[in-house]
Symmetry: D2
Subunit: 344 residues, 4 copies
């Protein structure tokens, strides 16, 4: 089968190329970049030399690209995919969008948080958090691949919401992401000397992954959940840690928490339960599609603290996109994604 990548020169795009190159069932179709049309991807990213020495096309001829592809990955800043989606409405190519455009069941939430009118409000995409929605993903024409912070945050608390072990108010997600999350655009704040030996929060009380997390938490809890979400910028290339605080309902035992996690994730290939007292580390999942989860209960405060880690470019972006592709096309879900983390 043939997979094309729209927006192949960003960090998520180039990670897609790496994973697709190692996927036994996939052949790369067209790869595009508007700013580098005509250049060779390996001139921009020499780590691909001798392996992916393909020219970058423009996405102008979108229908043509769609016609030649079985699946199209869109790895563009938000606001672009919805135009592509609108244009390809009647194509039967399948689309996996790594941006925010199709993630909200109510497009007005998108419009409120992204300050943009939605260009394709009628398309109903499937939210591609694979572990939860693989049945829907299977037959989806358009999959909205979840955000990186979102995946990390949802996977941490989902079993507790679903099992009703925690209260729906009082949830705080304090999240920290590596710098690839900020993308490859030229900003003072992304310079080495700005990030190295530094650490700070950003987007406090306003980050766009907030409503995305709330949407799924609410769905799982069967009532509206409003959370506090604070992202921070880590001086590392890859990795997200979400430290999630929730208030336990009364008389919840350690065992029932352990059972909730086990019941939810016990058979999931990509989710590793480190258990009570364990503090997962981002380096232990680097360059892999794994999510590691650990938790602790503080009886003094009545809270549970769940910590989850993933690689923002893999399970937080390209890896989960490939996982979704696997589901959509009937491959083994872990196909092309079995590489162990790179440690150290």
């Amino acid at each position: 089968m043939k997979a094309s990548v729209i927006g192949a020169t960003g960090y998520a795009g180039v990670e897609l190329l790496r994973l697709l190159d190692g996927h036994p069932e996939v052949q790369l179709g067209v790869i595009t970049s508007e700013s580098s049309t005509g250049e060779n991807i390996s001139a921009l990213y020499p780590h691909l030399a001798n392996r992916i020495d393909m020219g970058l096309a423009s996405m102008q001829n979108l229908e043509q690209i769609a016609a030649e592809s079985d699946v199209i990955f869109i790895a563009l800043p938000h606001g672009h995919a919805m135009k592509i989606g609108a244009q390809l409405k009647y194509s039967d190519v399948r689309i996996i969008d790594l941006g925010g455009d199709y993630r909200f069941s109510d497009h007005k939430v998108f419009e409120e948080w992204y300050k943009l009118r939605h260009a394709d409000p009628d398309t109903k995409a499937v939210y591609g958090l694979t572990e939860f929605y693989r049945d829907e993903v299977k037959n989806a024409r358009v999959v909205a691949n979840p955000g990186c912070y979102t995946t990390c945050s949802i996977l941490a608390l989902a079993p507790l919401f679903k099992s009703g072990l925690i209260k729906t108010s009082g949830v705080i997600v304090d999240a920290k992401s590596g710098t690839t999350g900020a993308g490859r655009s030229l900003k003072l704040g992304s310079l080495y000397c700005s990030v190295n030996e530094n650490f700070h929060a950003y987007g406090v009380a306003s980050h766009r992954h907030t409503p995305e997390i709330e949407q799924i938490y609410s769905r799982l809890a069967c009532e509206p959940v409003v959370i506090q979400f604070t992202p921070h910028l880590l001086p590392v290339d890859r990795g997200i840690l979400a430290t999630c605080y929730a208030e336990l309902k009364e008389n919840v035992s350690d065992e029932s928490v352990a059972e909730a996690f086990e019941g939810f994730y016990g058979k999931e290939f990509f989710i590793r339960l480190l258990g009570k007292g364990a503090c997962p580390e981002i380096k232990n999942v680097r360059a892999s599609n794994y999510v590691d989860l650990g938790w602790e209960i503080d009886r003094r405060t009545g809270r549970i603290i769940v910590m989850s880690v993933l690689d923002n470019l893999v399970k937080g972006a390209a890896g989960q996109a490939v996982q979704n592709m696997n589901v959509m096309f009937g491959f083994d879900e872990a196909c092309g994604l079995r590489q162990l983390p790179i440690y150290p």
Copy 2:
């Protein structure tokens, strides 16, 4: 005047040497290390060469050291200072302890969290958070220099507790520290390849700075405050960021918050108020005694998020110790501490 340093070879000890070297009123007295007695400090720390080429003494002859010194800084792991304090009970040397031994007004709290019997329970030390207790520090014989996380966390929320703008329940402090905070002892977790490109929490629901923070929050709020405190290890040398979450009381305006900070800290040399919407960065205070504060209010959740940064070795340890010394000996409080942060 003469200042001696007991435990000069740890990171806090060696930072004390740096600051005392630049202090116009101080002469170094004795510097000690039990593991490196007889060696020259500049052989262990070549950055001190040609400037502090002193031999390391043992602290065996403690009374002798006390007799020759006006002030003794103790920069040892907890559990040692209380023995030194007991031994020097009748000396008139003044003591500034950088460890945890004397930080609790109730020594049973120490015993519970540090799992150690207190060896000098009767000595009443002054808690050396200079901005709040400088009057008491002035005349103290023994000053308990606050912990690094503690200083950062207390300074963030103190004005809000004191002004009664926040509720006393529901406070979460999610803190992140550079690796000097883990000290210089040889542990797998402190190796470069363990810390670099990594990030994780530790001591969840059990870190010893928790009761220390609660003690002061409670004092300020005039009622018992129980908090959630979670420390994390950052891949940087220096710096702490505390992201502090508190629930605002009803109808608290932005202005009243701004006024509370301004009223509390407006005249403080070492505290810089970045104001609403600002996200302080640890690199902006590196190697300085400054604390930068920023905050945001989330009206959706009713919470205020206060972010504070400091250098854990300076305002979080050696710098505040020197600040306290300045107060104790009648020097200008900023004497020897005016260096600007090192950026980048």
Copy 3:
């Protein structure tokens, strides 16, 4: 086939586990550690959890391990492999040693530089620089896997020595390695705060990879070559860059240099020729078995500067070991080693 790893808990050992796990033809046999016998490798290295949850054996029962294995990788500090080799002299298990013991055709060179009497001087191992000696490797019982600096340095200048384009005197190799090269033992110099934001040389004029490089340079040049070799410690996890200086013979053109490289490496899967003027970057080969080469000629000085990069744990250790195993057992040489570099 079955592969066992003696010394599985060092960085090279654990990298072997990662690569062997992804190798379609290999099953892990026994993995050993004397210091952690009985523990589970994934307790020490949680990045392996759910995948390599094997107990660590002792290597006491060496003959037993050999009997159950087709190949044994030895990833121990120098001085151990030669004892194992002596003990397994009459076993038909094949051995790939990642240490220095068997790298010298003259064991006296080993004894001089390693200050150790050789315990198995009669065993003639094949030097496993695969690109040059694959015919010998194919049938070897014992393969001496080259050192990390060595591989990087030899591959850089080999074509020029072989083609006679450079003089045999005046060669300087200024090399820089990531910190995994220093191993996982607890040393002050390996602490995060010692390595981070730091850089320095070590082993100047005395590093043990010097005679190993000289041995192969001499073999290629057909006359004795003495070099200057200086290693440095980089604040990164992985990667070596060797900046190699050599004096060009008279009238050597750019074209003849390009042809030498092309002729030597044009068909090598793992060697990428970036060509004249290119400066290879260690990040472009991270976690892969690739070696990237670039070069420049300075007509003012008459020198050529060849720069080579590799990942010290992959092509510099475990990757080349697997490459050798592939050759020894008749697999495709790149089998299990095709993963693209991890970037960023």
Copy 4:
């Protein structure tokens, strides 16, 4: 006295502000930036908040600035200072230029390597390598502050050239610099994700500091010296290490080398001789004006390897500029520059 800074928003400019702020004899005059005219420097660099909250002027009114200042520091990219110098030819303000414009006694060397016509070829500036030329600096109207690599490289080999202990051919300087050396402009190669966990050479056989080093080496050796100079980019903020290789003349003893260094630098405050066998580390001089020197002799090859480290923003730029100012205005040479290095 009043010091103005032309180009205050680059890394060298802002480091000048830090040092001048701590200098007891200096008051800041005008600080300029063409791209941020009208803004407050502490809005761009919040680490300066509450201390240097000055507005940035344009340098349009240059004569006015000169009239109000005793000394002007120019911290602009090359090509600008020579125009300023031409414009201020008849002013009696003293100028310290941190760029390359005035560093060459023969302006044609500048024109050849910088590919620019010199706009002020008649002005004879003094080359401000303070340790060597302090007598000339004292009375200079225009001081050309040396480059960062240059200072590091020259100080390493100067005593050996001057004493005639090394040959004038065969010198190789393999140098490695922190990323502040690349400046604050927005380039892909300066992004965090481009530099972190990476390392590579650049400007091979063509870097502009080459002729500057050669100029002084030649002056010291009293004959033309041509060197090989290769810079590399280190993933650290600050610091340069130059590994310098030179061929010893016959029968040069260790003692005579030690004496040459001692004789040359024994009384220099900012130069610390670590001696034979020592490998200086960049972290040991961080944020200070120190230069640490170590060396080793390889009797197998007949070479001496001298290693020197400095902080590229301090002794390699702003610190040496202040040191020169001290000499020019009759202050103690170390005034405002005595801070110990920041370690760790």
